[in-house]
Structure formats: C-alpha cells, structure tokens
C-alpha cells in the first residue's frame, strides 16, 4: 500500500509515512497504589502479567505505628503463608553499627521489604527498590534483591537495608501482597509501584 504525505506530497511504502516508529520502551508501569486520606491495610498486586522478564517494586511508605520509629514491611507471594517457602537475609546499618541477620526456611511466613518509619516520623517516609528476576521461570526459586531505608534526622532511629530473600517455589509469581509486620496500616502518602521489565 502506498501512503501519500499531505505535508510533503511524498509517497511512502508504509503507514509510518516518514515518521519515526514509536517504541514503547522496555520498562513499564504495571500498577501502582497510592494511599490517600485514611490509612490502608495491606496492598496487593494480583493477576500480575506473565509477559515480562523481571519485576521491580518501588515502595515509598510510612506506617501508622504510633510509637516505634523503625517499622518493617513484609511480603507474601501468591497468597502463600507457608513458612517452608520463605527464607531471607538482611544486611543493615543504623549509623553506628552494622548487622547481618537471616534464616533458612521454616521460621517466617513472609519476608522483609525494608524498614520504614512509623507516624512518629512526622512526615518522614522510607523507601525500598526491589528487583525480582525471572519471575515466571518454572526452573528457579524466585529470588528478590532489595535496597532501601530511611532517615528522620535522629541518631540511630533510622536504617539502611540491603536484603535478599527467596520464595522457594517453581511457580510463576502472579500476586504480591505487602503488609506491615505488626499489622499497622499504611499512612496517607504511601506509594507502591509495580513495574515490568522486558527481556
């Protein structure tokens, strides 16, 4: 088919008619949740498309925990609460000391997504970025790698985290549910985005 440009009167062999082809890129937003107004309980991404190579979670959050400043978010995959499927390791510092903690499977029914401030932080927020490689592979346990933390301008009531964990399953990841470790809600202003990265 021949296309005639109305501007140049030139004939082209395709509908692009001399324009550069649009390419949408290989990093796409799948879904995001922003907490507006009152607090929200757990945040779940379900029916995750199986069309990407990797996933990335970007978390900007504060919890409704009233008194303790350091709070932890945890994640469950595909709705599983089976402690035999989760293992994790954390390497962190608080400005004075560094520590390492971790466990094989059997002791936790969810895994860490980083440390965040409670509402006592007075408008402070924490963040984490988590990369999940080959999340649709049926040959691999799913391996999460994250980094994040927060500072509220107070000595040793903040933390920088590097964390790693596995969901020990060969099933593709179809849902991720993020919650406060102690059951507190997410405060208004919290934002969690799920991104797909093509391969």
């Amino acid at each position: 088919m021949t296309v005639l440009s109305l501007n140049t009167k030139q004939k082209y062999g395709t509908l692009l008619a001399g324009n550069t082809a649009y390419y949408p890129g290989d990093y796409e937003s799948i879904a995001s949740v922003t907490v507006v107004g009152s607090s929200t309980g757990n945040i779940t991404f379900s029916s995750i498309p199986q069309t990407y190579q990797h996933l990335q979670l970007r978390i900007y959050a504060r919890t409704a925990r009233p008194a303790v400043v350091i709070d932890n978010l945890w994640c469950q995959v595909n709705g599983s609460t089976n402690s035999g499927e989760y293992g994790y390791h954390i390497f962190y510092g608080d400005g004075t000391t560094t520590s390492f903690a971790g466990t094989a499977t059997g002791s936790v029914s969810a895994v860490p997504m980083g440390a965040f401030p409670g509402d006592a932080a007075n408008n402070g927020f924490g963040m984490s970025v988590i990369d999940i490689v080959d999340y649709t592979s049926t040959a691999k346990w799913k391996h999460f790698r994250g980094i994040g933390g927060f500072d509220v301008n107070t000595a040793q009531t903040a933390r920088v985290n590097r964390f790693s964990w596995t969901w020990e399953s060969l099933s593709a990841i179809t849902s991720l549910s993020i919650d406060d470790q102690s059951g507190y809600s997410f405060s208004a202003g919290t934002y969690i985005g799920l991104y797909g990265i093509k391969g």
Binding site: T98, F100, A104, T105, H143, R145, S164, W165, T166
Partner: protein, 171 residues
Amino acid sequence: MAVTFYKIATVTVGSGGASTIEFTSIPQTYTDLQIALSARGTSTALYARAEINGNAGTNYSLKTIYGEGSGGTASQNDANTTYFDRFLMNSSAYTANTFSNAIMYIPNYTSSNKKCLMFDSVDETNATAAPMYMVAGVWNQTSAITSIKFTPNTGNFAQYSSATLYGISNS
C-alpha cells in the same frame, strides 16, 4: 514523556551450560548500561568475572562491602586485577533451583573517561548464612565499552542462567 529504558539483548543458557555469557557490538546510542544477571554454576564457582572489551590487562579495580551471615560484615579492596570479580553466582553445591540475583550499572559507557560502575549481587541457598555484595569499581581505560563478557571463576554457567543488557537514555 520520553522512553528511556530499552532491552538490547538477552542470553539464556541452554541445556549443557555455557562457558561464558557475552554481549558484543553494544550499541553506542545510549547514555548508560544496565545488566540483570541470574546465575548458577555447574561447579563450585562462587563468582562470575566480568571483562570489558576483551581487555585482560591489569585495569580493573574495585571496592566491596559485604555481609555473609556468620562471617559478619566487611569491606575489601581489589586493585589492578585483570577482571571485575565479586559478582556473586550460586555454585552447584547450593540448593537446587537457586540462582543469584545481580545487577551491574555502568554510567556514561561511551565517554572518553575511565569507566566507573557499580554492581550489586546476592545469593540464597536456604541456609542461615548467605552472601550479599555491593561493589564500586573502575575500568581504568578510556575506550567506549563495546562488549562485556561474564565467565564463572571455575566451570560453566548452568542451564537457565540468564542475563539481560539494557540501554538507558537521558533523553
């Protein structure tokens, strides 16, 4: 809004394994490069080595901060080596079906400056201890980066190991 993140190439290791994973003829049209790596070895390899532009000279230096569970936390200097080391991968002795999770970020890879980069890698093997490494390094050369090759420090990459090279544009 401009699109700025593009896949350049993906390598997935097939049955029988592979001695290297290599990206060649890297386009010079992006601002930065990023590589996502999920790797396991066929032997006792604990690291994948990265070599740039086939350069085997003593042009690679890096600083590592790491935690290893029972080994505590520490920092290490590797100066004037012949490749970037410390890129964690799971050995064949690790629990079946476990692979490392790693990323390498190389800003300004076409510039005529020496090339700084960072990489970040973690292992899991269903144990109390597991290593986590964060590395900042420099390839002490001014050539544009046109190829990157990963090689296990012993043995081969196991089947299903994968690496994806991305280009990032600043406009």
